[in-house]
């Protein structure tokens, strides 16, 4: 059996189907993943994301450390509570992980990193932190629930103590604050508004119950995956990994090139990729024939080498199959995908497919 989150028994009570995810026993879905998906797009759903690792950093040189460690620049975090999405690169310019960094103030930062990469991330962070005298504290004592959807903040607000509630509701996107024992962040991985709420693990089951009683639908990892795919948010391990540059994974916008003298890890490799005219492009695909696009399917581009679907699936909002794919450099807007020996017609589209409950592509 894998490690269990603080809410494991809650998941079982709710009829969850449990799967192994990065060594954790996690709920795949509670009933219908399509229903869970629609609940998040239309109202509010919640995900136990306690398997993700929360890492607190502190030290007088914490900012300089993160300016070296991350491809995005924490100098952008001028205000307390502000959050930034970034890749952490290796020297070859490949992605060790993607993460969110929160500025807590007073030379303190909080990172939230992926579950499957926790061990290697911590080893990498600790190795580099040593040179900056920065403490690295993995917060296994904390749990995290993502509450997502147009009604998410409104329904979750009563779970925040009255003293902090108004300020929490006033948080702008990509801002966070401490609210007593809670840490409330207006971030997420669904393309909808909402909060990610961090709390002591011992309080998590109670929080889950309160949110459920408020009408927030328990959702599993399957719905989380279709939601993030529609929002064209990358999944580490599928859309990018240590062998892939963020510039070939649609994440070029997360690299802060200025100031030019900021020597972040992987910079030289990333600059070579930036200046490479044959750099592969990362695109959204919409299936025009019947079927379902899946990871690793071959994309046939007329007169060029093959591309590959990095993540694909069925979009409950569009009622069509969609995918993210890496293709050779070019501007083709029609390609074909091989599915069980047949070539299906696929259109290249500008992502996201869906954001804030609205379809953003031409069907």
């Amino acid at each position: 059996m894998g490690k269990k989150t603080a809410k494991h028994h809650k998941h079982l009570e709710a009829g969850a189907r449990i799967v192994d995810f990065g060594g954790w026993d996690m709920p795949l879905h509670y009933g219908s993943q399509k229903q869970e998906h629609h609940a998040v797009r239309q109202r509010a759903g919640m995900f136990d994301v306690s398997h993700m690792a929360i890492v607190d950093l502190a030290g007088a040189k914490a900012k300089e450390f993160l300016q070296h460690l991350l491809a995005n620049d924490v100098a952008k975090l001028a205000e307390h509570g502000r959050a930034l999405y970034s890749c952490m690169l290796n020297e070859q310019g490949g992605v060790i992980d993607d993460l969110i960094v929160y500025f807590l103030g007073d030379s303190r930062y909080r990172l939230v990193v992926n579950a499957g990469t926790r061990e290697k991330d911590l080893a990498w962070i600790r190795m580099h932190a040593a040179n900056y005298d920065v403490s690295v504290n993995e917060r296994a004592d904390l749990a995290m629930i993502a509450v997502q959807g147009p009604k998410a903040r409104q329904l979750a607000a009563p779970c925040v103590d009255a003293e902090w509630r108004e300020a929490a509701l006033a948080l702008k996107p990509f801002f966070a604050m401490s609210a007593g024992e809670l840490f409330v962040a207006r971030t997420g991985y669904t393309g909808e508004d909402g909060w990610e709420i961090v709390m002591p693990a011992a309080r998590a089951a109670q929080m889950w119950d309160r949110l459920a009683a408020a009408g927030v639908e328990p959702c599993g990892l399957a719905a989380r995956d279709t939601l993030r795919l529609e929002a064209a948010m990358n999944l580490y391990g599928l859309d990018m990994d240590e062998s892939v540059s963020p510039l070939e994974a649609g994440l070029g916008w997360t690299i802060a090139w200025e100031p030019a003298d900021r020597e972040f890890i992987g910079r030289a490799s990333a600059e070579r990729m930036r200046d490479n005219p044959n750099r592969r492009r990362f695109v959204g695909l919409l299936l025009e024939d019947q079927g379902v696009l899946r990871s690793h399917q071959r994309v046939v581009v007329e007169g060029k080498e093959d591309g590959e679907i990095t993540s694909g699936g069925f979009s409950p909002t569009l009622d069509r199959s969609i995918a993210l794919a890496r293709l050779p450099a070019g501007d083709e807007d029609r390609v074909r995908v091989e599915v069980r020996g047949k070539l299906l017609n696929v259109r290249v589209v500008k992502t996201p497919f869906v954001r804030d409950g609205q379809i953003r592509i031409q069907l």
């Binding site: 795949l28 993943q33 399509k34 399957a222 995956d225 079927g291 379902v292 699936g313 069925f314 069980r340």
Partner: protein
């Protein structure tokens, strides 16, 4: 707990078979299988008149999360496919033993029931998987 009709035969791969009065055999996937797959979104059906061999690929059912092969439980020829699944694959979720049937086969010889599972034997298989 999966619903398990007593008048059907089953396979280790979670298909069910119903022997019809006209000698044909209707095939679908079990309630356990549909629950494991989750919401179905696409079904790839064989052609009518296509020959199938026991244990060979016959159809593909795709849920939101995964694609899964449906194997032919016997040697035979496809005499009908459930066209309704093209527009409404979720019939397999809502009624796996009824409107969610997938293929009807004409067996090429006698159906050897010893090669298939009785409801009791299939229930044992499910109990073992849960253990």
């Amino acid at each position: 707990m999966s619903e398990l009709p007593g008048d059907l035969l089953y396979t280790n791969e979670h298909e069910w078979l119903r022997r019809e009065d006209d000698g044909s055999v209707t095939v679908g996937i079990t309630d356990h299988a549909q629950a494991a797959l989750g919401d179905l979104v696409y079904v790839e059906l064989p052609e009518v008149d296509q020959d199938v061999a026991s244990g060979g690929d016959m159809a593909v059912v795709e849920s939101v999360k995964a694609a899964s092969d449906v194997y032919a439980p016997i040697d035979g020829t496809v005499v009908a496919v459930n066209e309704d699944l093209a527009d409404d694959p979720e019939k397999i979720n809502t009624d796996p033993y009824g409107e969610g049937w997938i293929v009807r086969l004409r067996p090429s010889g006698a159906v050897d029931e010893d090669e298939l599972l009785s409801p009791e034997a299939y229930q044992e298989l499910l109990d073992e998987e849960d253990a």
